[in-house]
Symmetry: C2
Subunit: 137 residues, 2 copies
């Protein structure tokens, strides 16, 4: 499929992707480098955690999502350049052997009001939601 300009996109367009299987070894090696928490590294620890079993780091899932997008028919000219997200959620953990694919829908096409590059030092800004246990009563 050819690369697409802004004018080629319209709300409602839907794109699929290929599929990729999440390997247990890569879950652990990704986590060892980027998210070294026991529930991403060790089955026994994971079983006793909120995940109830080994789970991929959400950042591993996000990175695999990007791989699937880049290899899909969704081809903006100049590449897939993400400026950020208005919403980002991981409703379920990804498990070893899970097969992922991506479904994308164009929600809106609008001209940019700002250039994505600014003078400054901040490279990532996020407002996240964490799950933290209460003390036992």
């Amino acid at each position: 499929m050819n690369e697409r300009y802004l004018e080629d996109f319209a709300a409602g367009q839907i794109y699929g992707s290929g599929r990729i299987t999440v390997e247990e070894d890569r879950i652990k090696s990704f986590a060892a480098e980027f998210d070294p928490q026991p529930f991403h590294l060790d089955e026994d620890c994971a079983r006793r955690s909120i995940f109830g079993g080994l789970a991929a780091s959400g950042w591993h899932t996000a990175a695999l999502t990007m791989r699937l997008l880049v290899e899909s028919d969704f081809k903006p000219v100049g590449g897939i350049i993400g400026a950020g997200f208005d919403e980002f959620r991981w409703p379920l953990p990804v498990r070893p052997g899970d097969e992922l694919h991506v479904e994308s829908e164009v929600l809106e096409v609008r001209p940019s009001k700002s250039r994505p590059h600014q003078k400054g030092e901040v490279v990532q800004v996020s407002v996240g939601n964490l799950v933290v246990p209460r003390r036992l009563a």
Copy 2:
């Protein structure tokens, strides 16, 4: 620093992190696996792209952010469990040799209205903003 329960967190608490330098080789190898676009892989292509030079994948930046958080004094009991983000932006590209650190502030502490695990198949939901060039007039 000890692990903290929900009751130990309060709006306004601030956490820092250590520092990590982003290596050019790892920018390219991360991109080769997860975000194989020319501006993350090759200096010449990157110079001609919107980035104007080699830039790390945003997912590489995000993953390194997690590593810095996990190794910081920010220690919720049970680990750092992200349910998602209300906002997520990359205002500037990360370049080879850049040194990253993370500053976190607790904005609000509130009881969860839902369990993070749901029955279903969707593992990641996001509403993203992409930069797509217009056609030349």
